[in-house]
């Protein structure tokens, strides 16, 4: 599935086991080398990035050049190791033995937030941390230069990079904007020959880049590309052929460029001996592939647990794959239809036998062109399923009900709105343990009929009290249903409601949707991600600012009356990191109200609002460590337009980038 879990793989970290701490050495010992000097704080605060899409690691963005010199004041973190020396304010040269000890200890720190804190203690700790950090997470590839990252960290094994802003998924970022991985691969190659893992999201990756990855890292194990573009089956062939230790090849919602006549049989390029493959996800590679080669590959990959094939796989072929890999835990089922003429082909019973033999299956997806007659074949595994993705299967409520009735342990469910409110009620009746629900629209247009509504939402809220994450597309909604969900599902962390018709009010009362979203921020105390829609006034944002203290990601579209909305957000949402706004009546005044907060955020995106070049320039001039990009719709030379169509601003240590295309102006 386009991963209900994080975009990075959930496989165990591949690092050498940390060295054992000798018995005699305890943390409370006299591990003091004089007082730590404080590294100067830059204007930017660390931002913890518990992005639900990525592992909880981050890159500390404080300025490493700031020497502490004198002054023990300003210590931000009091380490327990100091052994009572107290901050006397004297800078002492680092103790080499201590550094080795420190490195051994810091090996145990995995969470980036902890690492960032540790790195701020003093230079010694900074260095030790930099040498022992194994995974680097960079939420915005333009926030720091590759050279700088490479200079700081000595022993990276894993790199996670994110590129384009999320609205690029909706065609709002013109083609050729940037986020090329090439400079990163070029820098990482020589610096980290032991690199094992690369995860990229929304970046442009060429076949040459993949080639360089394959050549640069002989121990390479994991490649995960999410929403990327720029590569083809030729690049995949290189990875398959050269990375002999490959464990994970996850291609999720990428745009793989292939001409039908230039296809490369990349599946055949995997090593001919037993492979180390644990996860092979390629449902987004939409071109046909060599099935026999896949079957053989699966047969010689004893560690394979996750396999997601594209829609060129029939149920007959599925059966053959399952026979080769009965140990699968995650299975993407392709088309789920027979290639034979109606009447012939595999029987449902035979397919069910195959599923029954796959005792470890906990996650099913695919069903790209599903023939509902085959659905009963999955009944044997339904009770064990924790994750089911029907979001590419156009099923009616009647077709869904017999299946979902068996899925008593389901935690993640993705579905199309074709199942209607009735289908959702069936889900609510059975799946009391549900944590994540996504309801996608079959017909993603503003004036489609829409088959789910407030009724379905209400039902879900009543049946699934443990819900943590919801994405719900609909045409009709009421405040009452949203309020009900806010009360019934207090554990919500992610609430994304998309009422597809713009500016649509409460279907029954005709009121704006302010109260509904207000209740969500008020009652769901753990909320970190919110997407709003429907008719919304400034009042909604007043609520969000007042109660949304943990919100990190906020998406706003066609909402608000005035710049007060932005002000409420900036002043109220103290943990805000990512704000994306479109088509809302916010002007320069609103933008400027965020000035004091931009350094605390990863980025701000605004398109089709009422910003002017002048306002954006004001921001750019006042904030030196901010990159302010104004993006035009067309490349034509209109000179400097007054109204800004798209604004993308982000904090950065790297300064304005040098790979910007002509339609991007860096202020």
């Amino acid at each position: 599935m386009s991963t209900p879990h994080s975009s990075s793989t959930s496989s165990a970290p591949h690092r050498a086991s940390p060295p054992q701490i000798p018995e005699s050495l305890t943390l409370a010992a006299t591990a003091s080398s004089g007082s730590p000097s404080s590294s100067s704080a830059s204007g930017m605060r660390d931002a913890a990035e518990d992005d639900s899409d990525s592992p909880p690691s981050q890159m500390s963005e404080d300025d490493p050049g700031g020497g502490g010199g004198g002054g023990g004041g300003g210590d931000r973190w009091e380490p327990d190791l100091r052994g009572g020396n107290g901050g006397t304010g004297r800078w002492a040269p680092p103790d080499q033995v201590l550094e080795n000890v420190l490195e051994s200890v810091l090996e145990f720190l995995t969470a980036a937030r902890d690492r960032n804190a540790a790195s701020l203690v003093c230079r010694s700790w900074y260095r030790a941390e930099a040498q022992t950090r194994r995974e680097l997470f960079i939420g915005n590839c333009y926030a720091v230069s590759p050279r700088r990252a490479v200079e700081r960290f000595g022993g990276l094994r894993s790199v996670v990079l994110k590129g384009k802003p999320r609205f690029a998924d909706f065609s709002l970022v013109p083609y050729g904007w940037g986020a090329y991985v090439s400079p990163w691969v070029a820098a990482l190659g020589p610096a980290y020959p032991r690199l094992e893992r690369i995860c990229l999201k929304r970046m442009t990756v060429s076949d040459d880049d993949l080639d360089l990855v394959a050549k640069s890292f002989p121990l390479f194990r994991e490649l995960s590309l999410v929403c990327c573009d720029g590569f083809s089956t030729a690049g995949l062939a290189t990875i398959a052929g050269r990375c002999r230790h490959l464990c994970v090849l996850d291609l999720i919602e990428d745009y793989v460029e292939d001409e039908e006549d230039e296809l490369v049989d990349w599946i055949s390029r995997f090593p001919e001996s037993n492979t180390s493959l644990e996860s092979l996800v390629f449902d987004c590679v939409s071109v046909p592939f060599n099935f026999e080669a896949l079957e053989a590959l699966v047969a010689r990959s004893p560690a394979l647990r996750r396999l997601r094939v594209n829609h060129h796989v029939s149920v007959e072929q599925l059966r053959r794959l399952m026979a080769r890999a009965p140990q699968l835990t995650h299975f993407g089922t392709g088309a789920f239809r027979s290639e034979a003429a109606p009447g012939g082909g595999l029987s449902v019973t035979e397919l069910a036998t195959s599923f029954a033999a796959s005792r470890s299956l906990i996650c099913l997806s695919g069903f790209r062109d599903v023939n509902p007659e085959y659905l009963p074949a999955i009944y044997p595994v339904c009770a064990k399923l924790t994750s089911l993705n029907f979001s590419f299967a156009s099923l009616t409520a009647e077709e869904l009900k017999p299946v979902i009735r068996n899925c008593i342990n389901l935690r993640t469910f993705w579905v199309l709105d074709t199942v209607g409110d009735e289908g959702l009620r069936a889900v609510a009746d059975t799946c009391s343990d549900l944590r994540e629900l996504r309801v996608f629209p079959l017909d993603a247009s503003e004036d489609s009929e829409g088959s789910v509504s407030d009724v379905g939402l209400q039902a879900i809220s009543e049946g699934c009290p443990k819900l943590e994450s919801i994405l719900y597309f609909c045409q009709r909604m009421t405040n009452a249903a949203v309020i009900a969900m806010s009360k019934n599902c207090p554990d919500l962390v992610v609430f994304r409601l998309c009422i597809m018709g713009r500016h649509r009010p409460d279907r029954i009362t005709g009121e704006p949707m302010d109260d509904g979203f207000g209740a969500i921020v008020m009652n769901c105390k753990k909320l970190t991600r919110l997407s709003v829609s429907g008719l919304l006034t400034d009042k909604a944002f007043a609520y969000i600012g007042k109660y949304g203290k943990l919100i990190k990601t906020l998406s706003v579209a066609f909402a608000g009356n005035s710049d007060m909305s932005l002000q409420y957000i900036f002043e109220g949402c103290t943990k805000l990191q990512k704000l994306e706004v479109r088509d809302s009546p916010f002007s320069d005044k609103g933008l400027l109200s965020g000035m004091n907060y931009f350094y605390n955020m990863r980025f701000l995106w605004m398109n089709s609002c009422r910003l002017t070049t002048r306002g954006c320039k004001d921001v750019a001039q006042q904030m030196q460590n901010l990159v302010v990009e104004v993006i035009k719709d067309h490349s034509d030379d209109e000179g400097e337009a007054e109204i800004v169509d798209k604004l993308y601003l982000y904090r950065s240590l790297a300064g304005p980038r040098n790979d910007a295309p002509p339609f991007v102006t860096l202020l």
Binding site: D169, G176, E446, T509, F558
Partner: protein, 194 residues
């Protein structure tokens, strides 16, 4: 402060008659862009790719394109291009396949013709094919009429009777919607149609 929607809706192309607004929209000053018209997945939509101004050169990426009948906003609703693309193609094809299994025969009457015909609406992909097929079927009656005609359509109007029994002009609504609501076809003489 004015909400953008006022300006947007004034310039929008909509399927319904001007001045109509969605009944579900309680706010009268802002007619919703929707008039409740069903947007069926038809072939024309998947063909019109890359017409959106915002996506630049890469047509294949752009799934939020403006369909032939109505100006949609780019990137709204926020559904990833991957999903829109892969799903539209497959679903439209599958729907077509499923629909073709069942026939949808309706009577066709032509004014002045001695007997009626029956056609299977599922055999045709669109209005043009339907008209051509009807021309072929009724060619005798047509040529029996006035000699000077450039094509069957000029002298004759094609109408249908819908679920409610009303006589409607063929061609107003999307093809899929037409199929689901058409009960009878009627080829009317031009003079009557006016």
């Amino acid at each position: 402060m004015e909400i953008d929607a006022d300006n947007l809706s004034a310039t929008e192309l909509r399927l319904g008659l001007p001045g109509t607004s969605s009944s579900s929209d309680g706010v009268t000053r802002k007619p919703s862009p929707s008039v409740g018209a069903k947007r069926a997945l038809d072939d024309t939509r998947s063909e019109t790719s890359g017409t959106s101004p915002a996506a630049g050169a890469d047509d294949d990426h752009d799934a939020a394109a403006a369909p032939a009948t109505k100006a949609q906003v780019v990137g709204w609703p926020p559904v990833r291009a991957y999903r829109k693309n892969t799903f539209q193609a497959a679903a439209a094809a599958a729907k077509r396949k499923a629909e073709q299994q069942g026939g949808l025969y309706v009577k066709v009457s032509m004014d002045g013709a001695p007997y009626l015909r029956k056609v299977d609406l599922r055999m045709y992909k669109g209005y043009r094919e339907l008209r051509e097929a009807l021309d072929a079927l009724f060619t005798n009656s047509v040529s029996a009429a006035a000699a000077a005609e450039g094509g069957g359509d000029h002298q004759h109007a094609l109408a249908y009777e819908d679920k409610d029994g009303d006589l409607m002009l063929v061609g107003d609504v999307p093809w899929d919607m037409f199929i689901s609501s058409c009960k009878k076809l009627r080829i009317m003489k031009g003079s009557e149609a006016r």
